[in-house]
């Protein structure tokens, strides 16, 4: 960039590439491991097989955990999206005192270490009898997903021209009609991206889940408990499935975000 000699440029490239490999090493390792025929943690795998995928799909407890994870993530991210979108509209269009403070409050679960949220909800839910209930889990995950939906929807609404809303009003649309016919269709791509964000956050959540879940099992909770006790290669198969889902989701979000022009807006 500043006219470095070629050897410096090569050194920087080598260092940068090495760090990038370090960053991606877990993904590079786990995917081939999941097709290993050995039950030891040998890399590269001595032979190939699908036994760890069979172990996952053949175990009703893992499948039940997957069902719980999916239902929990779907409920929590939908709640966080609806509440977060309405609140984001108020934050962007509203003129009331203490707005920055309210916004900071909605961001707080992201800033606070999750262990604190976990302990606080644990003690609170134990008192009001929600500990170990599915409803308690949904509430906890919703709180954790709220910062993401508020953040994405605030950016989206801020970028939406208010004159279009005013035009709808001047043409006689009441607020609900305007919201349904103008706001919702225009904000849909951003809302989809926000929902996916929130879904992933909930689906991967470990710490708050460990505190609140009681007898409920989610995929990350089972993975964590197995990892602390012993090394079980079934986890590599789940990991690979999760990485596959992540890659597909990232592509979906980037497409949605590009359609919404979200990336350019965030960059501004």
């Amino acid at each position: 960039m500043m006219g470095e000699p070629p050897w410096v440029r090569r050194l920087v490239a080598a260092l940068g590439a090495a760090v990038l490999v370090f960053l991606c090493l877990p993904i590079i390792i786990v995917v081939p491991m999941s097709f290993s025929s050995a039950s030891s943690l040998e890399f590269p795998p001595p032979g190939l097989s699908l036994r760890w995928y069979e172990a996952f799909f053949g175990d009703p407890r893992w499948l039940e955990a997957a069902g719980t994870s999916l239902a929990l993530a779907a409920l929590a991210s939908s709640l966080a999206l609806v509440l977060g979108t309405i609140a984001a509209y108020g934050l962007v269009r509203g003129r009331f005192r203490g707005r920055p403070l309210v916004e900071l409050n909605f961001m707080a679960p992201l800033i606070l270490p999750q262990i604190i949220t976990g302990v606080a909800l644990y003690i609170f839910f134990a008192r009001i009898g929600l500990l170990g209930s599915f409803a308690g889990l949904v509430i906890g995950h919703t709180v954790l997903a709220v910062p993401y939906t508020v953040l994405v929807m605030t950016v989206a609404i801020r970028a939406f021209d208010r004159d279009i809303e005013r035009a709808a009003h001047s043409l006689g649309a009441t607020w609900p009609v305007m919201a349904w016919r103008v706001l919702v269709p225009n904000l849909m791509p951003s809302a989809a991206a926000a929902w996916i964000f929130a879904f992933i956050i909930s689906f991967d959540e470990v710490i708050v889940t460990i505190f609140l879940a009681g007898a409920h099992e989610t995929i990350p909770k089972r993975m964590f408990n197995e990892l602390v006790l012993q090394v079980n290669p079934t986890i590599t198969a789940i990991a690979t499935l999760l990485i596959g889902i992540s890659v597909v989701t990232v592509l979906a979000v980037t497409t949605l975000a590009r359609r919404a022009g979200l990336l350019a807006k965030i960059a501004d």
Binding site: M1, V19, L20, I86, G94, V143
Partner: protein
């Protein structure tokens, strides 16, 4: 003005109310109650706090956590700076792919990323078998289930948080400044040291504080890669809640973690504001 807007108030505060109420009930009140719990021990208001200071184990865990956070932050800065700089030098498609690879781990469960390090660093792992195979060591190096393993895993998980803002800051630098410095006779090293580096320092500091905050509250990576031998604050809190039942002590430790986080976050906001030219 339409009816709904009148009903919700012209200020728009009504839109914020539903989420505000949910957050109040499911977040603010629980956190405040937890903080209060640290002062409501039946044995005496300050008993958990005296315990925390007198029993050296808690102080040791606190000091240990801050030390590991500091080392992980420095490692992230040392590894992240060349990566961000290299990405900044790349152009077009190569840069997009590089950035995508930095962002990709964000989307992969932290459990998965931590698990992979068991495969890499274990006694029978890739690193040790290579070293043994090359005859560089006589017996497997102990890299896993100790502090080194925790630091490697933490650095790996948190590196993108430092690289992305740093890259954004580097891209924003006006290249004409560098050219002007070179035109005035400065060599490449001087341009870097006197112009480029100072311009990236606020972003580097902000990213480093973010990594520091996140390491302070880290739970999963120390639990798995530390093998129970590297207790950090979060793991201690978990033990005090789930094994020992000493909630008031857990609440007191959580308060310490919360205050440390907020102090660092205030610092982060201040530096972040300085990093934005507008």
């Amino acid at each position: 003005m339409s009816t709904i807007q009148l009903r919700l108030g012209p200020s728009g505060v009504g839109f914020v109310l539903p989420l505000g109420l949910v957050m109040l009930l499911a977040f603010n009140i629980p956190v405040v109650l937890m903080l209060a719990w640290g002062f409501t021990s039946p044995k005496g208001v300050l008993v958990p706090w005296i315990d925390m200071v007198e029993r050296t184990v808690y102080l040791r865990v606190l000091v240990n956590t801050f030390r590991i956070a500091l080392i992980a932050t420095l490692t992230c800065a040392l590894l992240g700076y060349p990566l961000a700089y290299w990405l900044c030098c790349l152009k077009g498609r190569a840069r997009m792919i590089g950035l995508a690879l930095v962002v990709l781990p964000f989307w992969v469960s932290i459990l998965v990323r931590t698990y992979a390090w068991i495969v890499v660093l274990g006694n029978n792992g890739v690193v040790n078998r290579s070293l043994l195979g090359l005859g560089l060591v006589e017996e497997p190096l102990a890299i896993l289930y100790n502090e080194l393993g925790v630091i490697i895993g933490t650095t790996n998980v948190l590196l993108p948080f430092l690289v992305l803002p740093l890259f954004a800051a580097m891209v924003r630098i006006d290249r004409r400044l560098l050219m002007a410095a070179a035109g005035l006779g400065a060599g490449p090293w001087t341009v870097f040291r006197r112009v480029f580096l100072p311009l990236t320092l606020p972003a580097l500091a902000a990213g480093a504080i973010l990594v520091f905050i996140l390491t302070l509250g880290f739970f999963i990576t120390p639990a798995i890669l530390g093998g129970g031998r590297v207790p950090m604050i979060a793991n201690m809190i978990d033990m005090l809640i789930n094994r020992l039942p000493r909630w008031e002590l857990a609440a007191a430790l959580s308060t310490v973690l919360l205050v440390a986080t907020f102090v660092c976050y205030a610092l982060y906001l201040r530096i972040g504001r300085a990093a934005q030219p507008s």
